[in-house]
Symmetry: C2
Subunit: 672 residues, 2 copies
Amino acid sequence: MSQQAFVAAKSALDPENFALANCIRALTIDAVEASKSGHPGAPMGMADATTVLFRKHLKFDASQPDWPDRDRFVLSNGHASMLLYSLLHLTGYADMTLEQIRNFRQWGAITAGHPEYGHAKGVETTTGPLGQGIATAVGMALAERRLAAEFGTDLVDHHTYVFVGDGCLQEGIGQEAISLAGHLGLSKLIVLYDDNSITIDGPTSVSFSEDIPARFAACGWHVQSCDGHDGRAVDACLTAARAENARPSLIALKTVIGFGSPNKAGSYAVHGAPLGATEAEATKATLGWPHGPFEIPQDLRAAWQAAGARGQADRAAWEARLAAQTPDRRAEFTRRINGTLPAAYDAAVQAARDALFAAPKKAATRKASQMALEALAPALPEMIGGSADLTGSNLTRVPAVDLQYTRDVPGRYIGYGVREFAMAAAMNGLCLHGGFLPYGGTFMVFSDYCRNAIRLSALMGLGTVYVMTHDSIGLGEDGPTHQPIEHLASLRAIPNLMVFRPADTVETLEAWDIAIRSRSTPSLLALSRQDVPQLRLAAGAENLTARGAYVIRQFGTGRDVTLIATGTEVALAVTAAEALQARGLAVAVVSMPSWELFEAQPESYRAEVLGNAPRIAVEAAGKFGWTRYVASEQDVIGMPGFGASAPAERLYQEFGITAEAIIARALTLTGK
Amino acid sequence: MSQQAFVAAKSALDPENFALANCIRALTIDAVEASKSGHPGAPMGMADATTVLFRKHLKFDASQPDWPDRDRFVLSNGHASMLLYSLLHLTGYADMTLEQIRNFRQWGAITAGHPEYGHAKGVETTTGPLGQGIATAVGMALAERRLAAEFGTDLVDHHTYVFVGDGCLQEGIGQEAISLAGHLGLSKLIVLYDDNSITIDGPTSVSFSEDIPARFAACGWHVQSCDGHDGRAVDACLTAARAENARPSLIALKTVIGFGSPNKAGSYAVHGAPLGATEAEATKATLGWPHGPFEIPQDLRAAWQAAGARGQADRAAWEARLAAQTPDRRAEFTRRINGTLPAAYDAAVQAARDALFAAPKKAATRKASQMALEALAPALPEMIGGSADLTGSNLTRVPAVDLQYTRDVPGRYIGYGVREFAMAAAMNGLCLHGGFLPYGGTFMVFSDYCRNAIRLSALMGLGTVYVMTHDSIGLGEDGPTHQPIEHLASLRAIPNLMVFRPADTVETLEAWDIAIRSRSTPSLLALSRQDVPQLRLAAGAENLTARGAYVIRQFGTGRDVTLIATGTEVALAVTAAEALQARGLAVAVVSMPSWELFEAQPESYRAEVLGNAPRIAVEAAGKFGWTRYVASEQDVIGMPGFGASAPAERLYQEFGITAEAIIARALTLTGK
């Protein structure tokens, strides 16, 4: 069948929907042509289905994009960004002007190549790195169910809709998300799969031949399939999906990529490049679109704006329900959504602090983290925790965050399973939804598995908290596959991520306090398996960890040498410093729990802490990056390469991370 | 049923197999007790099935562990390492002495906490990071089929067996591997799933409720299930799996973790901790094992050693078949297995080099990479390429590596699909199998998705080659999700990984040459989307990239300032240097394509290249790490944070990575 005949046949199925969908296709074609780059194929293929969704099902009010009880819409295949921008423009989001559409992919425009959270209203999450959209949406659905259990369906009762392409389902994280959603029966999660049989390298058959509906069914999903260009069929599927109340729903939409393009439809040529002027014109002719570039006829625009206003009554009714709550409940709901801390929080921190100074504790910093959580979580109902199947190792479960999140009861503790990447992306979704402060644990070496989601936390400016235990060779016998070496450096290299490696119980509490207060920067806590003494013993009101680094011990007067250490190695540096003092050297020991926060200090403070004496860094990790603070990597007492399997003490000895090595280097540097 | 009764019932199913399996259980219990750490549960549960596999199906000869046509055995759930060590010891691998078993998880022993490739013979790959074992095994199966097509089933005809636990199947990479193997119909891949219903956090039901056989079936697998403690049932399943010739096989084994432990069997308590002396004794009693610690009765040892010698005839027959080949064919097969380069290779490099100097080319370095591949791949039949669905962007496909690897024809080009992590792990498997030099491409930002497999390449010392294109903001409009910032630093931080960022066609060719020659170090090529001029124009025989860094341009006499740049920014540095010379400054421009190789140079060479003048680094990436070579990050012309969506030229301007910025900094530093 020619594309002309194909389009004619499809347009007859639901003519009104087809005409409205053409607005999306036309804007997409024009914007991609104007920017001379972009991905027209997927928006053209998905236009019909999204038109149904936005016209008839999605609960939203374009005039109030942030209405808390709106349905969430996630475009997991983010390269189809023009689909979303077109929908936002057509339905009347104020910031998504035609000028923005014209400036697609240009400097300063809110219409970035991939949807960027925080740029345009209505972009619920940053997408583009494939598979993460659906996993983030799982987090949103987790949030919705939990918040509804806390505040009632009067205030919280919405769906999360996700569009995914083949790429999202080929990526492993996609399966992690599908498996977790199916396990927990997240029935308000509805995924629409753009089954267009095309991938960048050609037909999907070159690399992909699964029975996708069967895979979802195996994971406990409600599954439907239909013609993605048949508005009525899509409508029926969406209605059935919304009616399903035990399982998440998949709707597999058979579509044609680049729908309407006479020479490129159904081909990978239309995936990631402009159609070209001639083909663009031919496509518009095939679609029956006689209008000029960026031109939307008034009747169609009016119909779209009606869709954008469709939710106004719902929203007003919701506001009335919110107003009808008791003042306390209304205030608490608002607080949760706004992400402000409760009044009781400061006192909880102070009490925890006082307790540590009253009775100092020797403990692994992972244990110190658990103690901090025990002290702070009761004051913070928004905290929602979990672990990628390492609860007993990460020590992420505490009495206030203990009730398991199950299919039946949405508790505060999520068993993410051995799915680090989906966990991290779901935590992003919990943040984005609003109402929650998520944290999740795994072994630090497996930050590798979820690294790009940590990056997205940082890029989006979300306050997720990563609890990464077993942070060095100090974990011992599990060996080099489990021992982080390059991880501290590689995480410190990520912009807008705060990496903490606290030295003791006090710094761990302080790090948690900073992480909790940081609602637009993610935090990552690198925590030890092995015990360390409490080094901070003098009660002081200031959170010194917030300085990033500070002199934790001064031996003698003046400075012959400065030892900079982090985490478990601060105690080692103190031991070495004592020995150096005995040899007549004046030594300052600097604890540096956070490079990022130290860099944010005034230069005078930094100069004072670092001093002018020779400096040695001590950290049981790779040496990369430490030249920021020491003269050369020869002045770093750290790991020369990968670790090994043996008891921790032996490893420290064998790899030369010892007080003796620190002392020897100090004597060399000072010439004493 | 009591564990006593349960064990009695199971032991009656195949008494001989049960008795042999008890040797594994006993050694595991004793070794974990001795080391006071480890994972006894899985080996105890899987002992029966692995006993069947090693006694009746696995083609191996313990006296010749490296026999090329042996079956491969991968323990994907690597924490069950004592299972493997027990099997190697019992079947008579010479290096796996009882002393090694006694020293489980101790310094210097080959019995590391997780199986480490290169430590003990019979460990085909390092496992522990979950899910990667099965993906690596997919690479081995890919290798087997391709090598068989090249050299005939006389020389290459073996299976790859994989044991996986729940964790491997929860990890996303597991699904990527399953999907790819099913798509390509890798029928000689047989996966045994230890379905023990227990995960670290408790019963798998806390986080996992899939119908695993149905998921595999949806991905095109042959699926069977049986009682994992019934030796005869396992035997029958293995026989059927080996007979299947169109699909990979899954055998789901219903097992009890910690089988035999009266108080801990079937519980997560037995997953990752010693049984304890009392329970260990009770377990042995339950199993009917009256022998002392590390004691194996002679009759059982003899039966096991017979199993270890079972393949000797096969191996001898294979050697006879190898000997019967033509000398050329035998030599070529041996060369491939040994990983040495062919005689014609040097000439191919020289010809490619000559061509570049004869007709210099302006080209993106990704294009330069394609040119290098076009020139070198014809000389190297061992090269096997692919891309994670970005062939047209990575430019990884060339005439010699063009035939698609399909279900029917195992060509040299693998469409990995949008599965970066499985791609990287499969490349490890292709290396480990022997006979291949794999390379694979994706966008550099998605190195995040496969990072832990890159790490395993480095840890195992494998010569995989990662082709990472779109290496900076120079990719333009796709925006911050696609623009690497911290990636160069975070990859440079990985031990034993060579990261190359070549400046032009010549350096790209040189980097490829080094990567190809490096059979025990992985290489990662960071390549540009945008064009750069060829800067090296003077024909010289030396591969200067092998120096890591060198003075590529000298302006004036002496040095007022040194500009160190990499990749696309070398040309920018040259432009700035020209302008600085016009202002009377003597400037050396250093191209630094590889930090790792530069660090390996003699100190005198490094000092000469770096010079004593003030230094400025120029790289369109995060500044982290550059203080190794410059005084402070203020001397780095690089990215202050994440990128943005806009045309590349505009991004360079807006982020201040310009000749003007270099000039301004140079003038400040030199006071001119």
